[in-house]
């Protein structure tokens, strides 16, 4: 299988993102506002030099910048794929010399990487002057970036998986909304799992959603190699499982597509 074409699809979408940069800046600024609200919130909770569940206030906020940057980097794929299936645009992909899933992946990954950096930059502009930085080894950046890319990929494949339900059900918007909120909470986007009651934290750690937000952000604020290997192994495991399921659903679903000319 020749993967070069997917590299170019991703690259085109990455470069294309610069065309709509102001629109994206507005979205990232919105995330910046939420990050600002959280700086206010945590400043009330923390007293001088306090550590809560292993997090200093700066770690807590940088954790939040990281989770927000990852989770909001992808658009609502469930909705878009749902619309493509319902409106029949999916037919456009059938006669093209590429794999549908890989095509979508390279398209969205290109945009997501751009969005990730932009939101991270805006989040940093909000947090840095208020709370300063955290202890950080710059040599770990490539490893953390790998965990981020895998987190975005896992988020992508889970959304594609939900999008596939549109072959059978009309309404996919509600699924998207519920999925987002699961990532916000159980995934640890809003609060690190250490803050959760123990029973809920244990459940969240078992589910794939925490590998989208909690684990990569935890690596960012408190890196260790043991955790790094465990995180990327589990991320790859969930990506493989859900890729298989999504592909299966796509193959079954696409047989139901009836094309009436165009």
């Amino acid at each position: 299988m020749n993967l070069t074409k997917y590299y170019y699809i991703g690259k085109i979408n990455f470069v294309n993102s610069f065309v709509y940069v102001w629109d994206r800046v507005a979205s990232s600024a919105f995330v910046g506002l939420i990050i600002f609200i959280f700086t206010q919130l945590w400043q009330i909770i923390y007293s001088e030099g306090q550590i809560i569940s292993g997090f200093s206030i700066a770690m807590m906020l940088w954790y939040f910048v990281m989770t927000e940057s990852i989770v909001t980097s992808l658009p609502s794929i469930v909705k878009r794929v749902g619309a493509e299936i319902k409106e029949g645009q999916i037919a456009n992909y059938l006669n093209k010399p590429y794999n549908y899933l890989l095509y979508q992946y390279s398209t969205y990954l290109g945009k997501a990487v751009f969005n990730f950096f932009l939101t991270f930059l805006i989040g940093s502009i909000v947090v840095l002057p208020i709370l300063g930085g955290i202890e950080f080894n710059f040599l770990n950046i490539p490893l953390i970036f790998l965990a981020v890319i895998l987190a975005i990929s896992l988020n992508f494949i889970l959304m594609m998986f939900l999008g596939m339900f549109s072959f059978w059900f009309e309404e996919s918007g509600s699924l998207r909304m519920i999925y987002n909120k699961i990532v916000f909470t159980l995934g640890g986007m809003l609060l690190p799992l250490e803050i959760f009651p123990q029973w809920l934290s244990k459940i969240s750690k078992l589910l794939p959603f925490s590998y989208i937000a909690y684990y990569p952000a935890k690596l960012f604020v408190n890196f260790n190699f043991g955790l790094f290997w465990q995180v990327i192994r589990t991320q790859i495991f969930w990506i493989v499982i859900f890729s298989g399921l999504t592909l299966m659903m796509y193959k079954i679903g696409v047989r139901k597509v009836s094309i009436n000319g165009g």
């Binding site: 919105f30 009330i44 909770i45 909120k181 809920l200």
Partner: protein, 260 residues
Amino acid sequence: MVAKLFKLHYEYIKVALSTAMEYKVNFITQVFAMILNNSVWLVFWWIFFNKFQMLNGWTMEDVILLYSIVTISYGLGGFFFGNRLNISHLIVNGKLDFYLTLPKNILYHILISKSNFYDVGDVIFGVVLAIISLSLSQVPLFLVFSISSGIIFVAFAILVNSLAFYMGSAESTSKHLFFGTLALSSYPMSIFKGAAKIIILTLIPAGFISGIPISLLKEFNLGWFLVTLGFASLILFLSIKVFHRGLRKYESGNLLYVRT
């Protein structure tokens, strides 16, 4: 004149209701999803207060009351004036022509010509929370605030959407300003201090949507009560003025389209 507008509003809601009933499963799913969506925020706060008990004087009960007022006022706005967030789209795409040619109040007609039935989910959610958290003596004041916050939401939507008259493509900007306000109003006002506090009581009216009403429900103060009602009236007046001023700049795109 006013009676005729109400009659028109009633007819629009009837049509929207029959459309929603055409796709019953869809409608029920959306309402249910909206309730679930709101519940997640309560889960967040439940985890938070489970760990920290209090946030600058705010407790879980106060947050429940806050969500009740925000979801009811937002939901009522979406149900009765569902087109409030589409105004900039109509302006940018030259779609106001339809309203300009009819002998009805233009702004009112735009606002009512869409009704978001899934916002019923927000209202149901808010009412359930109100039943849990309110004492009987708080109910009249709560109803007044649900309406005043609803007015502020709709008026603010008109204001930010009217930017499209001046800026051209303002769809994204107005959407972010509106949802930014919604986000700010969904957090306890006590976390904001200094400039942030001044902003949420002036430029971005989030404080008058939830923070001040909650403080007044806990401890009534006639002065702040009147300020809140005055603010709701002022922003409504301003939004109508700004819209009509902007309307003079409106240029039709001679676009032909079918309204279904």
